[in-house]
Amino acid sequence: MNENTQLEAREMHMPTEKIVARSDLYEMESSTVRTPDAEQRPVRVTARNVSVFYGPKQSLFDVSIDIPEKAVTAFIGPSGCGKSTFLRCFNRMNDTIEGCRVTGKISLDGGDIYDPALDVVELRARVGMVFQKPNPFPKSIYENVAYGPRIHGLARSKADMDAIVESSLQKASLWNEVKDRLHEPGTGLSGGQQQRLCIARAIAVSPEVILMDEPCSALDPIATARIEELIDELKQNYTIVIVTHSMQQAARVSQRTAFFHLGNLVEEGPTDLIFTSPGEKRTQDYITGRYG
């Protein structure tokens, strides 16, 4: 595939594009406006003028972005700037928060995901999520992972299921630690183990788009490296959005980076450009740690 070569090129840090500050583009919703990158890589998810309100308080302001297919997009920004909030918009998890209201338009493969006719269940099966706080079910480790495939009917047999569970745990590099205690409760794991369990749970249903909210926050460098490898591997086939606080991580795994500040998308573009020559002062300040 020609895309693969392109991806490799990207990973070798070859600046191929220019960064465009958010404000110059997307003034209104318009499908013809594209970031240069997106024009080259098919866009999977587009967001236009998305705002989110918690009760009367607005926490996200008019954010528009394109998420390219088969690539990793990283959201960075100071704590409380709205990254998780925005991430939750992509699979409508905000629907479950009382008093939370989303305006604007988000589409997946061109279809509006806030269309009332849309099936959120299908949406969430396609757009998987790893939450910021690990939240294993109070079930056994096995059941935690098998849960998704089971409800979606992805396993034909017990053996199938065992295979899915094992491979998911393997990918999340948790298998070795838990293979002897698959039937003990998932809540009895250490913090980092729980986080990996949640990753395994999410990838077990192999969603097309995977949203990861700080998937490595509780992981040691080695485990982090493994998860990053996993992400790298996943992006061959899937679209990945990741929230991270580690600039290094963003730089390592992502092809595009979006920087948020105080509920605004400050700028967005290819990762190497953002890190090497950001278009906005705020971004630069943040990346170089001069902020605040």
Binding site: R124, R126, F131, N135, F137, P138, Y147, G148, I151, V205
Partner: protein, 458 residues
Amino acid sequence: MNTAIIATLLLVLLGLAYQTGWSRSRRLAPAGETKLHSRPVYHGALAAIWTLVPALLIFALWALFGETASRAYLLAQLPPDVLALGSAELESTLRRIRQIESGFGVVGDALPWENQAAQALREFSTLTYAAVIAAAAGTGALALWLANRRISLRLRARNEVERVVSAAMITCSVVAILTTAGIVASLLFEALRFFSFVSPIDFFFGTVWNPGFSTTGQGAAGEYGLLPLLWGTLMVASIAILVALPIGLMTAIYLTQYASQRTRSTVKPVIEILAGIPTIVYGFFALVTVGPFLAGVGDTLGIDIRATSALTAGIVMGIMIIPFISSLSDDIIRQVPRAMRDGSLGLGATQSETIKRVILPAALPGIVGAFLLAVSRAIGETMIVVLAAGNSPFLRLNPGEPVSTVTVTIVNQLTGDTDFASPQSLVAFALGLTLFIMTLILNVAALYIVRRYREQYE
């Protein structure tokens, strides 16, 4: 005696002790450079406890022995010829003098010696009353002084107060044990008497319930087979649960997971009304509305359903216990952390899958508690069964036929016109005990089941 005075005294002591404890401890640690082990409130509370306990003890002693003392004193006042009277008459004389003393409800004129004795008694009472009050106040003050002296930076007042609190809590939970002991004690003796009339084998394995009426000297006339009653109880309770569990649980689920806050806050209390309607009303509801309706339905379907039957009673009882399941489960389901729900929804589960596979299992221990409560209520209920089940203690499989239950029989046999010393009436105690033991076994089983399937979330 004047309870108001005592209450005031105790309240004053309490307030005083708390205040001194509080302020003294506060003074000990002025500007934050030294630190009290416990906060002033605990010192205050501890002082209050220290002060109140001895005072209360004195009042308790008085309540226990004051009566004996005044009686002894009164006896000393009586003329010898009165003392020589039989115990019953002596009692009534004493009572009469007390009445004269209190100046209330005296019939006829008082004799001079009676008046004298009453006068003496009155003085005695006033004196002891004053003495006790003084003693209580005195010990209270002393205790307060002692408690105050104990206050120091390192005094573990909080621990001591908490120890008192936890002692109080243990006492509270012992109430349940005492109740059980009391119930067993009040049942056992009479149940044994019953078994002296009727052999336990006939009772536990008998299939005919027909105690007859008690005729003089005839002893154990009739048959006392437990099985028909037990069967009836089981049938009615199961039907009730079959009605209440789905309705109650689904209501709780819908209200917590689907309904808007407004719907929930109106529907929930409305359904709770069902728990407060006197059961006798349900009985009539069953007899007048549900029974004939079921009979009609049975007619059109070609099944024989009697107007008064296990079915009628069970359904109506089910209605009654809906709120036990719905409201309690509602509160429990709401406590399941939302992260659990989000986790499942985020994987693409539908609401119902989330509820069935994640929320309900997590809430299971609590729901089982609610369920047990509902079952218990169903087993213990009488009025509905009296009116709606047809009171027909025969072993019949068909729920469309009348039945009778253990509890109804207990009430009937205990409150009827039967001789209370006869097996007809004593059987109520045996029935009570049996029911008690049976539900005990059920509960032990439930305990183990819940233990096994408990899912603890974080």
